[in-house]
């Protein structure tokens, strides 16, 4: 047996803390997009977000770590613990046998806003000792490594929304070079005033005030997206090593991965979607599957008419000659877009769907756009899933595609 298995997942999402809570919320069809709490966002023209309201940091993070770290890292620390617990992963004798390889998008935003504000309002001495370790993009990876004693080759990649998938792509290289287990994925926390303002300048946020109007990927009334926070961390294990430690559950196999860049414009996506389609094809070829083999696509679902059209164009290009249209869903429609955390969360959701043979529909998809060769899933659907493709894009032209395959082995599925 060889290959790369997902053996544990930890979810901290607007839909719930813990994979099962998240999944149950999706199956109940409860949108987690609500009016922003904690500060008044009115002046930014934004009123909604996917906040993780039932996350109690003190339940997951030791007090001395709480004061040193941003909310983003709290959620990463929690998700890493949940993933290791889910996998039944005890600390291996060799500390170098476990890596932490996460995606980050925007770092420790709220912590940093406090410190910069203090610096300019009161002077350099108001900046605390932890700013240097709380806000930078490697903070969560470093803190997990230290808390949990993981000494393997660790890393941090930044490719905006594509990051969650890219961390898995890079982790495969780590595994190929001899490290049997890697924590991947990531979380994001961009719901403080300054980070929200920064995101707003991307021009991609919806200003709608009602959840049912705000983030409607693939709908004719799509008007942008809603920001969410949180994400997921997964434990990947090389198959032989997982079996050797007597792994009890396997969520699925990482079967293929492909990444490209539009290299077209600093913010506008390439109108021909060629590179997006190529990323999907690369991942299918890598997995040794054909478009016909794919049972479900979890879309990036950017939620602007232009970006949605490009995604459908890429899907039509890859899947358009199938005998039946490929089912496509977009679980981010329930949570908002979590940047790097979102693509990681979509991998977790895809594996949950695979386990149960149930596909959540796309929230608020009332009037779907024309979609050649694509079957947009509007309502929860029972569907046997062997092969699922998860897609993600990052602002500026990053395109990534991951192929997950159901695991057939004596351990049994999760």
């Amino acid at each position: 047996m060889s290959g790369l298995l997902v053996t544990g997942m930890g979810v901290v999402a607007p839909t719930g803390v813990g994979a099962e809570a998240h999944w149950a919320s999706l199956l109940r069809g409860e949108p987690a997009i609500r009016p922003i709490q904690g500060f008044d966002p009115a002046r930014y023209g934004i009123s909604l977000a996917g906040q993780v309201l039932d996350f109690v940091p003190t339940d997951h993070v030791a007090p001395q770590l709480l004061v040193q770290t941003d909310r983003w890292t709290w959620m990463s620390l929690a998700a890493a613990t949940l993933a290791a617990e889910d996998a039944g992963y005890d600390d291996p004798e060799d500390a170098y046998a476990t890596s932490v390889f996460l995606a980050a998008g925007s770092g420790g935003n709220e912590f940093s806003q406090h410190e910069i504000q203090g610096l300019w309002a009161k002077g350099p001495k108001s900046v605390g000792a932890y700013q240097s370790i709380a806000w930078f993009y490697a903070a969560s990876t470093g803190q997990i490594s230290i808390r949990d004693g993981r000494k393997g080759p660790s890393g941090v990649v930044v490719s905006e929304g594509a990051g969650g998938l890219d961390s898995i792509g890079w982790a495969r290289r780590v595994v190929r070079r001899g490290t049997p287990a890697v924590l991947v994925g990531g979380t994001e926390a961009g719901l403080c005033p300054y980070a929200l303002l920064c995101t707003e300048t991307s021009g991609r946020l919806s200003t709608a005030e009602r959840a049912e109007d705000a983030y409607k990927p693939f709908d004719r009334r799509a008007s942008g997206h809603v920001v969410g926070e949180g994400g997921a961390i997964l434990l990947l294990e090389e198959a032989d090593a997982a079996r050797a430690r007597g792994v009890q559950q396997v969520w699925g196999e990482v079967a293929g991965y492909g990444a490209t860049h539009d290299a077209y414009h600093h913010e506008a996506p390439a109108p021909d979607a060629t590179q997006y389609a190529r990323a999907i094809r690369l991942s299918l070829a890598d997995a040794g599957v054909t478009p016909e083999d794919v049972d479900l696509v979890v879309a990036d679902a950017a939620g602007t008419p232009e970006l949605d059209a490009h995604e459908l164009q890429a899907l039509a290009s890859v899947f358009g000659r199938r005998r039946t249209p490929v089912p496509v869903t977009a679980p981010s429609s329930w949570t908002g877009r979590l940047m790097a955390g979102g693509s990681a969360l979509n991998v977790a959701t895809a594996l949950l769907a695979m386990r149960d043979g149930i596909v959540p529909g796309i929230a608020h998809l009332d009037d779907p756009v024309e979609a050649e060769g694509v079957d947009l899933v509007q309502r929860t659907r029972v569907l046997d899933l062997e092969v699922v493709v998860v897609l993600a894009r990052g602002f500026g032209g990053f395109n990534s595609s991951l192929v997950l395959r159901r695991h057939v082995g004596e351990e049994g599925a999760a």
């Binding site: 490697a138 290299a263 600093h266 032209g397």
Partner: protein, 431 residues
């Protein structure tokens, strides 16, 4: 199979470093042992504990960027673009629009750009405007730049490079703090080894000389307080060392698959024969004196190229000039190279160009590649008083003519990251 192993060589180098202009200016400065550290000019450093830095006199437009590139991009991106321009020109590759017959397939050109702190400088500057100098937590959107999302997410640096050079292969920003610059080149090499790209623009850039960065290193006393003598403020391995000097800059390397480079008759600076990183899982900023995890990274990186420690002629040190780093690193080199450590030459160019956080790893790889290619080792400047705990050959103050077949560049960073990369001369590998 080993005979089919894809090998990675460096065929282009571009540098934006303090106190110099371009790759050759940088090299001249290093080999002259000249320091670029000075009293900070970007803002009034009066209220800060550490008031010195190694600043780049940088004008993006004069160096070939458009007014719009300068307007929308933080300084770290601008410096990366200028370094990449020089690296690509140096390689002789035609990338981007109008590539000739021997131009690489754009789908097989990748980007790995390291940065520890991304667009901090711009994020801070814009925050001053939208918060009215820290007066308002609920910031005022009417004062926001149109390009704040570009600043929020540092991956925009990789995008700018990809767009400029028409690179459709895998692209990412690597952000592992102060080892970013080594890790970015390591990942770039892996892209080529694994067959996912033939050419990768790999490097790193950081522009951290801004009040918030200076303030946060002040509070933990990681930076020097040697404000009275800025030119001699960075003193790696010297008993008088009292912290690092903040720097800035960028370096970009053209990494190329060996046969790809040979087919077009490219000049090969050296081969990347090994790369490894490990974590100390100890402390976000502290280092144990034994250097075990860095030694592990060095050992694994040497193993990849089947290199015997005795072959290593030069170690380009992290050498930040903090008390604990230099001790830690000396121990790591002794532990990993064994008896060979007593013969190896080891120097820290941070003594001259400061510590530009994530960028410095790539700048140091550039220096190491030039040292291997040209047979000259850059010195450790400001080395006067030996420290009994740092007792290796640090190439004090004067560059040394010495041919080396194998060199290592190492780095250590917040978060506990330890990285090592091995460069071998082209002649050694061809023999």
């Amino acid at each position: 199979m080993d005979t089919e192993r894809r090998r990675v060589v460096i065929t282009g180098i571009g540098v934006v470093a303090p106190g110099s202009m371009g790759r050759e200016g940088f090299w001249d400065m290093l080999t002259a042992g000249r320091t670029a550290t000075r009293r900070i000019t970007f803002f009034d450093p009066g209220p800060f504990r550490s008031q010195v830095a190694a600043e780049v006199d940088f004008d993006g437009v004069r160096l070939g960027l458009t007014a719009q590139e300068v307007h929308r991009n933080d300084r770290f991106v601008q410096m990366a673009l200028v370094a990449a321009d020089e690296a690509v020109a140096d390689s002789g590759l035609s990338l981007g629009a109008g590539g000739g017959d021997d131009a690489p397939d754009p789908d097989r050109v990748g980007i790995t750009l390291g940065s520890a702190v991304g667009a901090t400088m711009r994020l801070e500057k814009e925050y001053v405007a939208v918060s009215d100098a820290g007066a308002h937590w609920l910031v005022d959107p009417r004062y926001a730049s149109r390009f704040l999302h570009h600043a929020l997410v540092p991956s925009c640096g990789a995008t700018e490079l990809a767009v400029r050079f028409g690179a459709h292969g895998p692209a990412t920003v690597v952000s592992t703090g102060c080892t970013s610059g080594i890790d970015a080149v390591g990942y770039g090499s892996q892209l080529i080894e694994d067959g996912d790209a033939d050419v990768v623009l790999s490097g790193a850039s950081d522009a951290p000389i801004s009040p918030i960065s200076m303030a946060c290193f002040d509070t933990i006393r990681a930076t020097t307080a040697c404000n009275s003598d800025p030119e001699h403020a960075a003193k790696p391995f010297d008993a008088r060392r009292d912290g690092f000097v903040m720097g800035e800059g960028a370096a970009v390397l053209v990494l190329e698959e060996l046969q790809h480079a040979r087919r077009r008759g490219a000049t090969i600076y050296c081969e990347v024969t090994g790369y490894a990183n490990r974590c100390n899982a100890f402390h976000m900023t502290g280092l144990r004196p034994d250097g075990v995890e860095m030694a592990e990274a060095i050992g694994r990186a040497l193993d990849q190229g089947r290199t015997d420690p005795a072959e290593v002629g030069y170690v380009n040190a992290h050498g930040s000039g903090t008390k604990q780093n230099d001790r830690h690193e000396t121990a790591a080199v002794k532990r990993s190279l064994g008896p060979a450590a007593q013969q190896v030459a080891m120097s820290s160019i941070k003594s001259m160009v400061g510590h530009s956080l994530g960028a410095i790893g790539s700048i140091e790889i550039a220096a190491t590649a030039l040292a291997v290619h040209r047979g000259v080792l850059p010195p450790t400047a400001n080395y006067e008083v030996p420290d009994p705990e740092c007792d290796l050959d640090y190439v004090p103050n004067t560059a040394r003519e010495q041919k080396v077949d194998v060199a290592i560049s190492v780095g250590s960073g917040f978060g506990g990251f330890q990285s090592a990369i091995v460069l071998a001369s082209a002649s050694r590998r061809a023999s």
